[in-house]
Symmetry: C2
Subunit: 220 residues, 2 copies
């Protein structure tokens, strides 16, 4: 069997299970979000900034993906929401979550009782974009400190997402970059994508993101 | 054939070719460096900051790895050093360079005529650490803006490297982090690793990195 064929088989199996996961969500009226982005883009801090307000309105849960450690799941569980950690070192240290890892994690937090589940994928700008994990909405997170050329260099994640978050906007004044160049680069790849410029560390900046998520959530 | 076995076969083939590449370098007295790190950690800017001085002393070349675009290779070629671009979108958009991509790139820049070749791997904190590409020395680059917990969360790259560069140190005063926590985290994973705190944008900061590389280079 060729390498290409092997990879295709793995992807097909993954995507089939992803479709099942999405149907599970549809059946229980649970909306699934897949948050992807670079390591250190601020994904967990973003979640910490929006969960307190989100959980007032929705029953919510979080699945935390990491190669190693339960650091992020511990931070989220401290906010008193249903949390499951997936460590991919059990799966060969893979650089992305796969459907076969997500399904048991969703079951562990009784996803069917929840309105919204946010899955924080492995910190990686490439691999997660290749693997459908059954989410209804993909969100791409980058930090503006990474440079404005990242979308063009890693296009797939932005092509497959409904929302791009440009995080750490509070550092803009210390960087020698044109943020609008980053916005234009993303729009060139995906004209329909929504874009939020924000800082997870600025309390009010989470409001727009919360609004974006709430608009797509369904209360039971 | 199981998935694990398939992956093992791919890795074995890669590692065997990597060993050949390292021998090729030994035979021609060409020292190969593999620079790995997150997207936007500043790898290309680091290279831009050290190449002008390095090429005074050594015949050098660069292999640029990216999923898409030749942005980085264009930046390096402008410094008048032998440069080859590898785009992995031809290889299914893989998240790492593999030996089979590196070998033709080295041949393209006539590596055997060079003293030093720096291979800039795909921007990714996970995958490149899994793939030996035949370098004599691995270098891991992170930006301090990514947070101090990254080494613990992505340990393999730091375990497999001889040098860790903590880049963008000029932003330290604007971040609420303890940089020594990051240093300790790396040392815990790999006590023998060298660590350089620097900013690729500060002209004098490249001197220590140049010294580190020069110490390992061999002039023909």
């Amino acid at each position: 069997m060729t390498k290409v064929k092997m990879v295709r088989n793995v992807l097909e199996k993954n995507d089939k299970l992803a479709e099942q996961i999405r149907e599970m969500g549809d059946n229980s009226k649970t909306v699934l979000f897949n948050m992807m982005g670079t390591p250190g883009a601020g994904k967990t801090t973003l979640l910490e900034s929006i969960i307190p307000a989100l959980k007032e309105d929705y029953k919510m849960g979080v699945v935390e993906g990491d190669v190693a450690t339960a650091n992020d799941a511990d931070r989220i569980a401290a906010l008193d929401v249903a949390t499951a950690q997936v460590n991919t070192d059990r799966f060969g240290g893979t650089c992305h979550l796969g459907s076969e890892m997500v399904k048991p994690a969703l079951e562990k937090i009784n996803y069917d009782q929840l309105d919204i589940v946010i899955i924080e994928n492995i910190g990686n700008l490439i691999c997660p974009a290749h693997f459908d994990i059954g989410a209804h909405y993909n969100i791409a997170v980058v930090s503006i400190t990474e440079g404005v050329d990242k979308p063009a260099k890693y296009p797939l994640m932005f092509r497959n997402s409904k929302l791009a978050i440009l995080n750490k906007i509070d550092l803009l004044e210390h960087l020698n970059i044109d943020i609008e160049e980053m916005v234009a680069g993303i729009k060139q790849i995906n004209p329909d994508i929504d874009i939020l410029k924000m800082s997870a560390l600025q309390p009010n900046d989470g409001i727009a993101l919360n609004k974006w998520i709430k608009k797509r959530g369904r209360r039971k």
